[in-house]
């Protein structure tokens, strides 16, 4: 097939104008922020519980679908849908942690992996039962469906909102983990949970809270992604890979690392797809490869002691 000859050399892209550069940088940032919200939850859970939660992508999908039900089927405001997604995912996650996951902390990693993988299958069937296999669409919240004209470039409002909400969540998480007593307990739990328990801290509840918050973040991420994409079964599959890439690039367990990882991911995917469209499938993996070659423990991660 000699199709490729018909491709126009992307001269407009090669000589990227200020407008195009700004727009692409902005889109990269918006994508990064949406991804950060989701990945930060996965990262928090791994950092404290040392559990790699394959079902995180499924939590994201549930977040999007719940927003659809609340905001579209029931006609509630979009942000009520976002809160409902966060609350529902928190609740589901809390139940999963208390009833099932807590029995697996002392088991080998393989058991935990199998467990979270089983969750993926169960939840995917549950989603099919609740929402069927139709494709859904959630509208933009009122006043966010347009664009703002800055003269040299036009920026869509909703993506601007994503650019603002990402750093807000990052700062809130930093305050929570680094600046509160509860945060100190959480950080201590990553170091030595036996000692923490001996000091009278209810470690199981700390674990439950972390799993709940981390999963609620996946729900929020899905809810916030909902207006800008089509909701279909299987939307969990790619997102979980991308989250893993972000968390690994940033350094496992490091929140600001995930933030940096998400930024790297967003810009590489956006600019990379524009400049080298044939590489769009491998770009995120290439990024991970390069980062791991230079820093095997991720951008802000630290080599684990004893390894």
């Amino acid at each position: 097939m000699s199709v490729t000859e018909w491709r126009v050399p992307s001269h407009e892209i090669a000589s990227m104008t200020l407008t195009m550069f700004t727009l692409n940088a902005f889109y990269g940032l918006a994508l990064a922020m949406n991804m950060f919200i989701i990945a930060s939850g996965l990262n928090l859970i791994f950092g404290v519980l040392r559990v790699i939660n394959f079902a995180h992508g499924m939590f994201y999908m549930f977040g999007a679908y719940i927003t659809f039900t609340v905001a579209k089927s029931w006609g509630a405001p979009f942000f009520v849908g976002v809160l409902a997604a966060a609350a529902a995912l928190g609740l589901i996650a809390f139940a999963i942690e208390r009833l099932l996951l807590r029995h697996l902390y002392d088991k080998e990693h393989l058991m935990q992996l199998l467990f979270t993988f089983a969750l993926v299958l169960l939840m995917s069937d549950a989603a099919k039962m609740i929402w069927g296999t139709d494709q859904y669409s959630v509208g933009y919240p009122p006043g966010m469906g347009g664009a703002i004209d800055l003269g040299f470039v036009v920026l869509p409002q909703y993506q601007l909102f994503l650019c603002a909400i990402g750093p807000l969540i990052a700062v809130a998480m930093w305050l929570l983990v680094d600046r509160t007593r509860w945060g100190r307990v959480v950080r201590a739990a990553t170091q030595d949970r036996e000692m923490l328990a001996a000091l009278g801290v209810n470690v199981p509840m700390v674990y439950a809270a972390v799993f709940t918050i981390g999963s609620a973040l996946a729900g929020v991420g899905g809810a916030l992604a909902a207006p800008r994409i089509a909701l279909v079964p299987g939307m969990d599959a790619t997102i979980i890979n991308e989250c893993f890439i972000i968390v690994i690039i940033g350094g496992l367990g490091n929140m600001w690392g995930s933030f940096l990882g998400a930024l790297a991911f967003g810009f590489v995917v956006q600019f990379g797809t524009v400049l080298a469209p044939n590489w769009q499938d491998v770009l995120p993996y290439l990024l991970m490869l390069v980062v791991l070659l230079i820093r095997p423990w991720g951008l802000l991660g630290r080599p684990e002691a004893g390894h």
Binding site: M1, V3, W6, R7, V8, S10, E12, I13, T19, M20, L23, N24, Y27, A30, L31, S124, K128, G132, T133, D134, Q135, Y136, S137, G139, Y140, G145, G146, A147, V154, P156, Q157, Y158, Q159, P227, R228, I229, A230, V232, P233, G234, M235, A237, T238, V269, Q270, F271, T273, V274, P277, Q280, D281
Partner: protein, 386 residues
């Protein structure tokens, strides 16, 4: 000795009787989980409707039909192994279905190896009925040459001069591109393709592509972005006023009610597209009755178009076996060549040489109606290959 001969004879008779009463087994694969389920599930519903109707009338050749349904997971490797299992373990007499072109090509390969008839009911890649054509494969859906030809014709009719071309980077997108490029000089000799972009299959983020199309200064887009790809594109492009300036001529059945009914007010202006079947508009007297039965089965008045394709596949399998008076793959394959049947979208004939049915599609602009919450295709013109 005598007894054993008699017993053997009885055994042979008994076996013969058992064969006569055994059901005819139809194997069918559609994606039932993951992203393809949006289409695979309604296609399967149409398939089941046809099987139920035939069984109510006594089945095929007086034998009941047993439909053995499997998930192809939208994955060629998975479809191959599942289809082999259907043939060797479940001993199916014929295989129907597939949705993605890549899956259709994989299923055709198995059909060739195992010498079992495969009717491709949705996959459109032209290769199935050209380069990769063999004795046992038939197609009852449209193909990429036909769709490309109509899209090129519409580009000419709408006087597009600078065209941006969007295709998904896999079998269907690449083949549709070939089909369009072949036909474009005929219908729109002065039109120029100024930009070709190929997002990946399953992409949800089109922001790397949207600004490029807007900057390219084209007056129209020829697009093969189907289903969720189109929806995500609309959501990301519409805030920029993308659809105010650009005419969007699209294959991939985004004119179907599945898309229009879900996007409702978000469905953009300036879209011209296609659909196999429209619940609100028929081109054949039998359509209304078919649609009513489907509506009853699915419990919704606004039925999905994909059901018709699943339905037609079964009708063809049944007609071929009746004509061949056998389920023998060689005889059924011969019977399918040149076979004409009546369907909810009119009388169809499978070409004896290319194994391609002359199924058409409805094409038209998607317009707002004051009395409806969603857009409809109007006027919807049924375009059938010559």
């Amino acid at each position: 000795m005598k007894y054993s001969v008699m017993l053997a004879a009885v055994g042979v008779f008994a076996a013969g009787a058992a064969v006569a009463q055994q059901p005819i087994r139809i194997g069918v694969l559609y994606p039932l989980t993951g992203g393809g389920a949006v289409y695979g599930v309604p296609a399967m519903a149409g398939h089941q409707l046809a099987v139920e109707e035939l069984n109510a009338k006594g089945g095929i050749l007086g034998r009941k039909i047993e439909s053995i349904e499997r998930d192809d997971k939208l994955n060629p490797a998975s479809a191959s192994s599942t289809m082999k299992e259907l043939i060797t373990k479940d001993k199916v007499d014929i295989v129907l279905g597939g949705l993605a072109s890549s899956v259709g090509l994989a299923m055709s390969e198995v059909s060739k190896q195992e010498k079992v008839v495969y009717i491709s009911t949705i996959p459109k890649s032209i290769q199935i009925t050209t380069d990769k054509l063999h004795k046992y494969v038939f197609r009852t859906s449209a193909n990429t040459d036909q769709e490309g030809d109509t899209m090129a014709m519409l580009a000419g009719k709408n006087k597009l001069s600078k065209i941006c071309h969007l295709e998904l980077d896999y079998a269907y997108g690449n083949d549709l591109e070939v089909g369009i490029l072949k036909a474009l000089p005929k219908y729109a000799p002065d039109a120029k393709i100024v930009l070709t972009l190929k997002p990946k299959l399953g992409a949800t983020d089109f922001n790397p592509f949207i600004p490029q199309v807007m900057a390219a200064g084209c007056d129209g887009v020829l697009s093969g972005l189907w289903g969720p790809h189109f929806v995500s594109w609309v959501k990301q492009a519409a805030p920029l006023g993308f659809f105010n300036k650009i005419k969007w001529i699209s294959g991939g059945e985004i004119g179907s009610h599945e898309i229009a009914g879900e996007l409702k007010g978000e469905y953009p202006d300036n879209v011209i597209s296609n659909a196999y079947e429209l619940w609100y508009h028929g081109n054949d007297p039998s359509h209304a009755a078919f649609q009513a039965r489907l509506a009853k089965k699915l419990n919704t008045q606004e039925t999905p178009q994909w059901a018709a394709l699943g339905y037609i596949g079964v009708m063809y399998a049944a007609a071929a076996m009746e004509k061949a008076k056998s389920t023998d793959p060689d005889k059924v394959a011969e019977a399918l060549e040149g076979l004409s049947i009546g369907t909810p979208v009119g009388k169809l004939t499978i070409d004896a040489k290319t194994h391609q049915a002359n199924i058409g599609q409805f094409w038209g602009p998607m317009v707002k109606k004051p009395d409806r919450a969603y857009r409809i295709m109007e006027p919807a013109e049924y375009i059938q290959p010559k």
